[in-house]
């Protein structure tokens, strides 16, 4: 039992990998077709490549919408148990088929388009958002060769394509011809544009350390020492950058406490107020796909991607390990959502411009100095220094600021 499990954890598709020197998924499929499907192997190369690419497309188009199916249920269950409820229980054992039932319901719903709205924009908007959140998956490395395209500007591409989402949001808000939608869209625009900056800066910190924009290079850079070579622990500045990135990422995907664009209590449903049926489902899928994508990026940049925890063993490595890490981050996102209340607009901007951005700039400076001093920053001694600084920093903050803040009305843990 254990060896089989270990093998699966390390290398889920042994026969593929045995021969694969392939760099990405379409090459992998190509090699698989060449060696395992004899009647296709006789075809000319370009045709075969086209087939391989289409196969990869099909895999992603089939797998990615399944994510929200699972994530929505997970979200509902997590929120329910945090609030001492049980969540959906009726459809299937413990309600596992609830999202499927909801999806079927959404398909059958009337597809309503506001008469006074801008029809074309209204129809196009969900597809833009949907397509953009899908396109992000193209550059996320799920494993050594489970990657659609190993772009040499990988992380830059991800940032660029995820910024396009805001155009879709504004289109949806404008085309709905509803004040709630428009307000939501404008808030979303302000929010995403603001939080793009700390995200970019904290990604820059990683890029400065790795000296490459390629996603695979970033992952490769985190191998060797197991958990210690993960970029979070590599320098104290990346440790801060991870938190800055994660906070801004939550804001990017419009989740509580930064869900001002959707703010149910103020704006009905924000930019998708007027949407119904399958178009609404597209927004919904995009939201959860985004959530997964952002967590996957955080796991790739800071938590070692598909590299494992223990050096040599690659336990919690490979594709399953990567998915587990990502799911943990997704869980933290849900957890935060059901802990914190929504921010006010001014608090949102305050947090971004007065706290996250200055901290990110400080990080960039710090990383620059760090790289200058410790040339080979994968030296265990240097990582030890960084860990020491992180721990001392946390203890120091507690001693210096914790005491001081206890005089002001500090939040206390209730025993409830």
């Amino acid at each position: 039992m254990l060896p089989v499990f270990q093998q699966f954890v390390q290398n889920p598709f042994p026969e593929f990998f045995a021969q694969a020197g392939s760099e990405n998924l379409s090459q992998l499929v190509l090699e698989f077709l060449r060696s395992h499907v004899p009647f296709l192997a006789t075809l000319p190369d370009p045709v075969l490549q086209l087939i391989a690419m289409l196969a990869v497309c099909v895999i992603f188009v089939a797998v990615v919408p399944l994510l929200p199916l699972f994530l929505v249920l997970a979200e509902r269950k997590v929120s329910a148990h945090i609030q001492d409820r049980v969540g959906p229980m009726r459809v299937g054992p413990h309600g596992v088929l609830q999202t499927l039932a909801d999806g079927v319901k959404l398909i059958f719903k009337e597809d309503h388009i506001p008469r006074q709205g801008d029809k074309i924009l209204f129809i196009v908007a969900p597809y833009i958002i949907f397509a953009c959140s899908f396109a992000v998956f193209a550059a996320i490395p799920f494993g050594k060769s489970i990657l659609v395209s190993n772009l040499n500007i990988g992380i830059f591409y991800i940032m660029a394509i995820s910024s396009v989402v805001v155009i879709g949001v504004i289109m949806a808000g404008w085309a709905s011809n509803s004040k709630w939608s428009l307000l939501g869209a404008l808030r979303s625009a302000a929010q995403i544009v603001s939080y793009e900056i700390p995200i970019g800066l904290s990604i820059l910190a990683v890029v400065m350390l790795v000296e490459s924009l390629k996603m695979q290079d970033i992952v490769m850079n985190q191998g060797g020492l197991g958990i210690l070579s993960w970029i979070v622990f590599r320098t104290p500045f990346t440790f801060i950058a991870f938190f800055v990135f994660f906070i801004s990422a939550i804001a990017e995907v419009n989740r509580t406490p930064f869900d001002l664009p959707e703010a149910e209590s103020e704006l009905v449903a924000g930019f998708h107020t007027e949407y119904s049926g399958m178009r609404f489902a597209l927004f919904f899928i995009a939201e959860y796909a985004n959530m997964f994508a952002v967590s996957a990026i955080a796991a790739t940049l800071f938590l070692g991607g598909w590299k494992g925890i223990i050096p040599g063993y690659e336990f919690l490595g490979g594709t399953p390990g990567f998915v587990i890490k990502t799911m943990l981050l997704v869980f933290v996102m849900m957890w935060i959502r059901w802990t914190l209340p929504r921010l006010r607009v001014d608090q949102l901007m305050n947090l971004c411009w007065k706290y996250l951005i200055p901290i990110s700039f400080f990080n960039i400076l710090g990383i620059g100095i760090w790289v200058l001093i410790f040339q080979n920053d994968r030296n265990p001694a240097h990582i030890g220094i960084s860990l020491l600084i992180i721990i001392l920093g946390i203890i120091g903050a507690y001693l210096v600021l914790g005491k001081r803040s206890s005089q002001s009305p500090a939040p206390r843990a209730s025993s409830a």
């Binding site: 001492d84 409820r85 049980v86 802990t339 914190l340 500090a410 843990a413």
Partner: protein, 222 residues
């Protein structure tokens, strides 16, 4: 400057405190009561039972009802329907009687022979209609209630629970305390496919040894 860092510290600290609380909540057993599937409230540890004195369904111990119609009169929504039929003058269904409530929550209806005041360590003999004379030790007796002579038929005692608003006024005015609200789980189960099932019929014409059709005739003649 110091304020700035202490703001950051406070923000991070309070978020972590909040997350710790929600994480603890995550593993607490949920309080949800899966109602149609879980019928017993005792199954869940942290769920309160239905509180005592809960205003549930109305129930009439029809044997004790004296047909005074006080409940019908006070009901604000007029959802109690009572018809009675007086016996000819001088006749009575049964004479004044004693209801002996026993400690095991059963009751015996009949005349207590001899002194109605019950002394300790004696036996009480009760003359009942169905079982003849019954003897019970006096320590089993909880209390004795006198029942007035019955000089009427109670043909119809219906309460339309779909109109009732559970004010409980009818139970307060009832002189014999025979109209009560049930505060157990049976008192909250209503679901039915037919609205007419919510009209609770308490009258038992067969109680008076009177054929049912005659009772119906009497109703029609009303």
């Amino acid at each position: 400057m110091r304020q700035y860092f202490s703001n950051i510290y406070l923000g991070v600290y309070s978020v972590f405190i909040g997350m710790a609380i929600t994480f603890r909540q995550l593993f607490k057993p949920s309080v949800t009561h899966q109602y149609p599937y879980e019928h017993s409230f005792e199954q869940k540890k942290n769920v309160r039972d239905i509180p005592q004195g809960y205003r549930g369904q109305l129930f009439n111990r029809i044997e004790d009802c004296i047909g005074c119609k006080k409940c019908e009169m006070i009901c604000p929504v007029d959802c109690i329907y009572i018809t009675t039929e007086k016996l000819p003058k001088g006749e009575r269904l049964w004479d004044s009687m004693n209801v002996v409530h026993l400690k095991d929550r059963t009751e015996i209806v009949g005349m207590i022979e001899g002194d109605e005041k019950i002394e300790a360590d004696t036996t009480v003999s009760i003359q009942t209609r169905e079982r003849g004379a019954v003897e019970i030790p006096s320590e089993q007796v909880a209390r004795v209630v006198e029942r007035k002579p019955v000089i009427f038929y109670l043909d119809k005692f219906d309460i339309d629970m779909s109109l009732c608003m559970y004010c409980g006024l009818c139970t307060e005015v009832c002189p014999t305390e025979c109209l009560i609200m049930i505060d157990t789980l049976e008192g909250i189960e209503y679901s039915t496919f037919d609205r007419t099932n919510l009209i609770f019929k308490f009258a038992k014409p067969e109680m008076y040894d009177k054929p049912l059709d005659e009772a119906a005739d009497a109703e029609a003649a009303d």
